[in-house]
Each structure stands twice: as C-alpha cells, then as structure tokens.
C-alpha cells in the first residue's frame, strides 16, 4: 500500500515552546488516519506543517513523496484543507465561495461551476446555493467548508476538528459525508478531541499529548491492548473495594466517588463486587477510546 505522508523525528517549536516534539508516523493511501489529543497536544501544529504553512523546525516530512520544504505548491495543489475556524468569504454566496476557491487552483470557470454543483449536491447545500454565508447555521457552514476543501478533487483531505461546536444532528451529517468519502477511497487525515468521532471514522489513529505520540494503531485494537475489553464502574466508592482490587491484582482507577476496573472478565468481577460491596450503582460496559485516552493523558484539566 502506498504511503501518502511520512514524518520522521518531526519537531515544531515556537520560541521556547515545543509544540511537536519529535514524532514519527506514516499515513497510507485510502485510510482515514486520526490525530486524537487534548487541546495543545500539537495536532494543529502538525496539520499546519503538512499543508506547508508552518515551516518545520527539524526532522523530515514528505507528502506524496515531496519534501514540504522543497515544493509546497505541488503538495498544496493536491490536498484539501478544512480548518478549525470558519473562514468562508462572508461577501460571497454559497456557490460563489466554491467557484472563487476553484480559481486559486487554476480550475477554469465552467469546470468550477460543474464541480461546485456536484459538491453542493453531495453536501446537501444545493438549495442554499444563492444564500449569503451569514444566513447559514454553524453546521451548514462546516459542510460548505468541507465542500470547498474538495473543489480541487484532492488526493488527501485534511479535516482539523471538523465537528467542534456543532449540534448532534450536524455532527452526524458531517460524519456521514466523511464515511462516504472514505468509502470512495479518499485518504483522510482527521484531528479531533471527540472519542466517538475518532472511533467511528478512523481506520488508524495516534493519541498525542504534549507534542508526543503516545500510542498508534486501529482504535479497537488500541482499546483492547490498553484497557481490556470491559470496564466495571462502581459508584459511591464502597469502603474496602480499592484494597480488594489491589489484592486481586485488577487494573483499576480510584476516582473521588467512583472506582473503574479495566478487565476482560467484566461479568465475573461485577458479580464478585455486587455480592461483597454495597455500592450505589455498579455497571459493566464495553471499554472505549475514552477510557484509553483518559488513562494515557490523565484526568486533570488542561490549559
């Protein structure tokens, strides 16, 4: 399988602040690759280096086999970027936003109009084509930004936190479109701090924190390796449970009013606890990316 992006020892510093501290990864053609991490983990800095905006501090980074330092124009001609902030042109209509953007790629006007129609239909925006940007809701704006990122038929689509700030309906709309694009074989790079988003969309992902990659792999496998199959949640912190867990050799976490036990045998542990410790509430659930994420990056507040 061919490799679209290769990073080796990639670093980015802003003065004394190290945003990305030497990371290695390779993104394959046709996969949806995720960067998951808390705010300030270095996700956006990495993305900015990939689309050749932020110069790399050290290490190497190639996109489509081209060094980002050598030929940014050729790289940028083949990627589509959906940035975090909405930066649509407020003075243009929905359709005009796409055709003006097509011009930056040197796409001739008739072809641009064809593509704009195709993308607006795909994103469910065709009915709104003559509306002003200010009349669009947050979700519609986001869909338009994604449509705009597709105007040059990119070989690589970069989505930087594509659903931050959207309501649940809009998020699912965006996910649905991204899944369709993935099925069509588009290579997608996604950054997010939503676990469900990473879990449903990504074939492979990395979890980043403080500029480093902590783990890498397919989401389900990462969860299985890092936390096990299931989580037993015990609420109300019954006395003696933590000691019992330690003696039994369970992997567990003791929060203020909650004990979390990570295991492959949830049912058995659940029964054991239910019989011996009077808990407020005790449940067994499937382990998810969030369990792994919090285990790796801690529970303290960021920023």
């Amino acid at each position: 399988m061919s490799i679209v992006i290769t990073a080796k020892g990639l670093c980015k510093s802003y003065g004394d602040l190290v945003a990305v501290g030497g990371i290695d990864f390779a993104i394959r053609a046709g996969e949806c690759f995720g960067f998951l991490g808390p705010n300030g983990a270095g996700k956006t800095s990495t993305v900015k280096m990939i689309h050749c905006f932020a110069p790399i501090t050290s290490g190497s980074l190639t996109v489509f086999g081209i060094d980002v330092k050598e030929d940014p124009r050729s790289i940028k001609a083949r990627i589509g970027v959906c940035q975090q902030e909405d930066n649509l042109d407020p003075d243009f209509s929905v359709a005009k936003n796409l055709t003006v953007f097509a011009r930056y790629f040197g796409i001739p006007a008739p072809e641009a109009a064809r593509r704009a129609q195709e993308l607006l239909e795909f994103m469910g925006l065709w009915e709104r084509r003559n509306d002003g940007i200010r009349q669009l809701s947050g979700g519609l704006k986001r869909r338009l930004v994604i449509a705009r990122a597709l105007i040059n038929r990119p070989d690589l689509l970069i989505l930087d936190e594509p659903t931050t700030g959207l309501d649940p309906q809009s998020r699912h709309q965006v996910w649905d479109r991204v899944r369709t694009l993935r099925k069509q074989g588009k290579t997608i790079l996604l950054t997010t701090h939503y676990m469900d988003e990473a879990q449903t969309l990504c074939d492979r992902l990395v979890i980043m924190d403080h500029g480093k990659i902590l783990v890498e792999g397919p989401p389900t496998e990462l969860v299985r390796r890092g936390v096990g199959k299931e989580v037993v949640e015990v609420w109300g912190a019954p006395p003696g449970l933590a000691d019992h867990a330690r003696q039994s050799g369970w992997t567990f976490e003791n929060d203020t009013d909650q004990v979390l036990i990570y295991t492959d045998h949830g049912e058995a542990i659940f029964r054991e606890i239910a019989g011996r410790f009077p808990a407020e509430r005790c449940t067994v659930r499937t382990a998810g990316l969030e369990d792994l994420f919090l285990k790796l990056t801690g529970r303290e507040l960021r920023e």
Binding site: H51, D91, R103, A149
Partner: protein
C-alpha cells in the same frame, strides 16, 4: 532575496480577482466616497474659501483656487483609497475573516496573497481617482487628453500607498492602532503636500521637508497633468515614487510573513 522572489507567481492575480469580485458585490457603497467627496470639497472650498481667495500663485502664474485644489484632491483620493485598503480592509481579511488562512492552503504562497493585496490596493486607488476625475470633469477643471496620464500614474502612486499600508498591517497589534499611522503620516501628508495651498508660501526648510513627502510628488504630477502641461518635471517625481515603492512593498510583504508565519 532569491527565495523571496521565487515565492511570487502570477497566481497573485487570483487574490486581486477575489477582491475585485467583492468590490463589485458592494459597488454601490464603494462608489459613494470618490463621487461625493470632490463635490463636497469643491463646494466648500470653491464657494467658501474660493470666495475669499479667487486665485493662487502657482509656478509663476495665477490659477483659480478650485483649479488648484482639484488635482490635489485626486492625489489624496489615491492615497486614502490605497492606504485604507491595505490597512483596515487587509486587516479585516487577515484577522477577522481569516481569508488568507484559507487561501494559503491552495497553491498560492503567502507572498502571492500579499502581492495580490498590493495590486488590489493600487487598483482601488486608480478606480477612486478615475471616478473622481469624472466628477471633477463636470466642473471643467481637467484638460484632456493630457490628463489621461493620471490613470496609469495613479496605479503607481496607489502601489506606494498600498505598500505603506501593508507595512503597518504587518506591525499593528490591533485594528485600532491604525490611528497612529493615519494621524502621524497620512493626515499630515494630506495637509502639507500642496493639496490646499502652494508650497511656495512655506518657509524654505518646510518646503524641503514637503519635497520628501511622496504625496507632494503625486499632487505635482496630477496638477501638471490637469493643467495640460506635460511632461515637464514629471520624470523626476515618477522616478522618486518607483525608487521608494519597490523596497517599501517588499518590506510590507516581509513584515506580513513575519506576522503570519510562526
């Protein structure tokens, strides 16, 4: 320097086209200042001050007061249009609309974007000047066809003021800070570059100081052209503007890169 030059391409015209398209979306509001401003000035100064000062001495002859100020207004119009474009308007595109963030993800370099901004700033100066010329022509204050040289010349002058504006956009912390360059550079130039009175009335040292001001040279060329006297002393002024515009434009682009690329 070589790397800087390599960063430019003809794609900067795409940015110019984008700004032009926005200009046409909002064209009605855009045409109000260059159409009404000269009429207001000519009425106030022509009927008001002109009633007291019928003629002024200009290079050895007496000319009508409105005849004197009309070309000065054209010069000031180029300055205001171009400078305000690459200060306030560029700042809005850069900071509030994040327009440049989007454009630099396409094959355009940041230098292309900035060059497009400068070309557009100069174009706005030219449009403003051209529209104003039409308005002033109705007062019979412009000699054609000699005065047509003003159109290409206003593009050069516009490029200078656009470059000046871009330098400040690269430097100001916030949009309110444009008050400083406006009141330290632009308003003094507007008042002391021979817009409203001939520089000969000033003391010698002040005249020499005024000779450095770019707007003095712009006014001078506009006035000679409006009076139908060409080419006269124009080449010196044109050369002066070219010499100061090129480094200033490159400086503006460099400051913008320093501001935006971290």
């Amino acid at each position: 320097m070589k790397r800087l030059l390599r960063a430019f391409s003809l794609r900067s015209l795409r940015v110019w086209q984008r700004n032009r398209d926005v200009y046409f979306v909002t064209w009605k509001t855009n045409l109000v200042p260059p159409l009404l401003e000269p009429i207001l000035y000519l009425l106030a100064f022509g009927a008001g001050i002109g009633a007291l000062v019928k003629t002024v001495p200009y290079r050895g002859e007496m000319i009508g007061y409105t005849q004197f100020i009309a070309p000065g207004l054209l010069a000031a119009q180029v300055m205001f249009q171009a400078f305000f474009e690459t200060t306030y308007n560029t700042f809005v595109r850069m900071y509030y609309q994040r327009t440049f963030d989007a454009i630099v993800t396409t094959p355009l370099s940041l230098e292309d974007v900035m060059a497009g901004e400068l070309l557009w700033g100069a174009t706005k100066g030219t449009i403003g000047c051209g529209v104003m010329m039409v308005a002033i022509s109705f007062f019979g204050l412009i000699h054609y066809p000699q005065a047509l040289v003003i159109i290409p010349f206003s593009f050069l002058a516009g490029l200078f003021f656009a470059g000046l504006g871009l330098c400040f956009t690269g430097l100001v912390p916030q949009i309110d800070a444009f008050n400083f360059p406006v009141f330290l550079f632009i308003m003094p130039m507007f008042l002391f570059s021979g817009t409203f009175f001939p520089l000969d009335v000033l003391p010698r040292w002040a005249q020499l100081l005024a000779e450095i001001l770019p707007l003095t040279h712009v006014s001078h060329v506009m006035r000679e052209a409006c009076l139908g006297r060409l080419p006269g002393r124009l080449l010196g002024s044109v050369a002066y503007l070219v010499v100061i515009t090129v480094p200033l434009a490159l400086l503006g682009i460099t400051l913008m890169r320093r501001r935006l690329v971290k």
